[in-house]
């Protein structure tokens, strides 16, 4: 029976905590947690300055609300004993979660490690709705989405659900994280509608260095994402880690060439995007394919995402930061290519793919892809429609024009302090406020 390493670790390993494995998973967990602030920089740089804090807060908000939902309920629905569709309630409210071995690491560490995945997956969706979705409804959306969409999908693929039983290979979350987030993002962009300026005026990234910083930090964190999915400090972790280095290198080079041939320039935003697409594509394959296959997979993965981005920007589909092209298409490409390149010679617990003489694995992978697309699309659509019935999902056009930083958070990313009057709390309502002393005004 072929099983992804997650369940393998859950069921087959001796019930003892191994210090070396624990040490690596402590580090890997911190690495994956860092990916969400990294995503905040990646997304934050891509939007206009008047929306940069709001965009970054959409990622940071997931660190709070999704993390709590995960610990209190979603972890149990994903990983505790249940049926083929959903886990049980045995671990609700952290019940029964202690330091006992889950595989070879303490169960609480496994819960937190998986929680960092849930957090970034929800945050990924925000790229499709930036610059227009109200903050309150967004927070409600990601909390409910984690419970209703992420947890069931994680159970299907990793927690003993029906896709796992069918032998779908998803090493670190190509299906659960990237196809899931990418398709939900597409649906969310359709439900929310286009930004008022979309297609009417140039909407440009306000800080490209932030985008590069974010992409670099995402790559760094992704070593924990893929390398950590071995759930141990072993050869499999080394394979997944190395493939996570190799695949994006190839994607980066191919993407830059595509850019160069199409526009005559190698672009920085293109390079940053390529790294993320390569990381997405290798995610499902990282622990199942050879390093040379990883290079090939990364190179191939540049093509579909690149052309979907080019085509998408000419439509009225305002998936603002191309979450679907990057994560949806990148995830689908990676999941299918896993069925092409997988080799038992590199991971005995995995499966052979098409090139190793087992075309059935490609069909199995397609089943995983198809079911993820259908479930994400339907469930996300229903959730957003219900939320939209309760409250307005979008900011009013006036508010959108003013910018989401000032309207949603009462802050500016790049405030000068000029013209700001200090409100003195102790003073009565009628007293005249004193001018605020900022370095600029103080110097005058």
């Amino acid at each position: 029976m072929t099983r992804p390493p997650l369940l393998l670790a859950l069921q087959d390993a001796a019930p003892a905590v191994v210090p070396a494995d624990t040490a690596w998973m402590l580090v890997a967990t911190a690495l994956v947690l860092l990916m969400t602030p990294a995503l905040a920089f990646f997304y934050g740089g891509l939007v206009r300055s008047k929306n940069s804090l709001n965009t970054m807060m959409m990622s940071f908000a997931a660190l709070g609300v999704v993390g709590i939902v995960w610990a209190l309920a979603a972890y149990s629905l994903a990983f505790s004993e249940g049926n083929a569709l959903i886990g049980g309630t045995a671990n609700f409210f952290l019940n029964g979660i202690g330091l006992e071995a889950q595989g070879t690491i303490p169960q609480i560490l496994f819960l937190i490690y998986q929680g960092t995945f849930a957090i970034i997956t929800a945050a990924l969706i925000s790229g499709a709705v930036v610059e227009r979705m109200r903050f309150g409804p967004y927070v409600a959306f990601i909390a409910l989405w984690t419970l209703l969409v992420y947890a069931p999908m994680a159970h299907w693929v990793w927690g003993g659900g029906w896709l796992m039983t069918r032998g779908v290979l998803d090493f670190a979350g190509g299906t659960v994280v990237h196809i899931n987030a990418g398709v939900s993002a597409l649906v969310a962009a359709l439900v929310l509608g286009v930004r008022k300026d979309y297609g009417r005026q140039a909407i440009l990234p306000h800080n490209v260095p932030f985008v590069l910083l974010g992409a670099g930090l995402l790559w760094f964190g992704w070593f924990g994402f893929n390398g950590g999915s071995a759930l141990a400090a072993n050869e499999l972790a080394a394979l997944a880690f190395s493939n996570t280095a190799l695949a994006p290198m190839a994607t980066l080079v191919v993407w830059v060439f595509l850019d160069y041939f199409r526009t005559g320039r190698a672009t920085a935003v293109g390079g940053a995007t390529a790294i993320v697409v390569g990381l997405v594509a290798i995610t499902p394959a990282a622990g199942f394919v050879s390093p040379s296959a990883a290079l090939l997979l990364g190179g191939i993965a540049a093509l579909p995402s690149y052309f979907v981005i080019v085509a998408r920007s000419r439509t009225r589909l305002d998936d603002s930061l191309d979450v679907f092209a990057g994560h949806g298409i990148g995830g689908i490409t990676g999941a299918l290519l896993t069925g092409v390149f997988a080799e038992k010679a590199w991971n005995a617990a995995g499966a052979d793919g098409l090139l190793a003489g087992n075309p059935a694995q490609l069909v199995t992978q397609a089943l995983g892809v198809g079911s993820a697309i259908v479930y994400s699309a339907v469930a996300t659509f229903a959730l957003l429609k219900v939320l939209g019935f309760v409250t307005a999902l979008r900011a009013a056009p006036r508010t959108e024009g003013m910018g989401m930083d000032v309207s949603q958070h009462g802050e500016e990313a790049y405030a000068s302090g000029e013209g700001s009057i200090l409100v003195i709390h102790e003073a009565g309502p009628d007293s005249t406020p004193a001018p605020v002393l900022t370095p600029q005004t103080a110097a005058r």
């Binding site: 300026d197 009417r200 005026q201 006036r398 024009g401 003013m402 000032v406 009462g410 802050e411 500016e412 405030a415 302090g417 000029e418 013209g419 700001s420 009057i421 200090l422 409100v423 709390h425 406020p433 605020v436």
Partner: protein, 118 residues
């Protein structure tokens, strides 16, 4: 000749430029400015510090035009910058004594583009 100075909302700039382009008004200067027009204050909070932001970001357009273009330009700006909410801005019109085009040495009416109404 007149100098038209318009203070508008930054997020209406594109619409205004489009309208001016359609009206064939081509020479203009744009700057980002801070202004106060009696709007309700915006409150911002940074940790314990709460401030009222009295100055709003606005965009100033300066357009030198020949007499036949004065009304065309004003109505293009007013129509495109209007939202109906407080703070839409103002248009000031001033007499201009002289204009010199540096490249050709043309003066006055000859130096404001366009010189003739269509």
């Amino acid at each position: 000749m007149k100098l038209i100075v318009a203070i508008i909302r930054p997020d209406r700039l594109n619409e205004v430029l489009e309208a001016l382009y359609r009206a064939e008004v081509t020479g203009l200067t744009v700057s980002r400015v801070l202004g106060h027009g009696g709007e309700t204050d915006r409150v911002e909070t940074y940790r314990g510090t709460t401030v009222k932001v009295e100055l709003q970001e606005k965009v100033r357009l300066e357009i030198g035009v020949s007499d036949p273009f004065v009304n065309v330009t004003i109505s293009a700006i007013v129509a495109a910058a209007h939202t109906g909410e407080v703070g839409d801005g103002k248009v000031f019109v001033m007499d201009v004594e002289q204009v010199h085009r540096i490249r050709t040495g043309e003066r006055d009416e000859g130096a404001v583009t366009p010189a003739v109404a269509v």
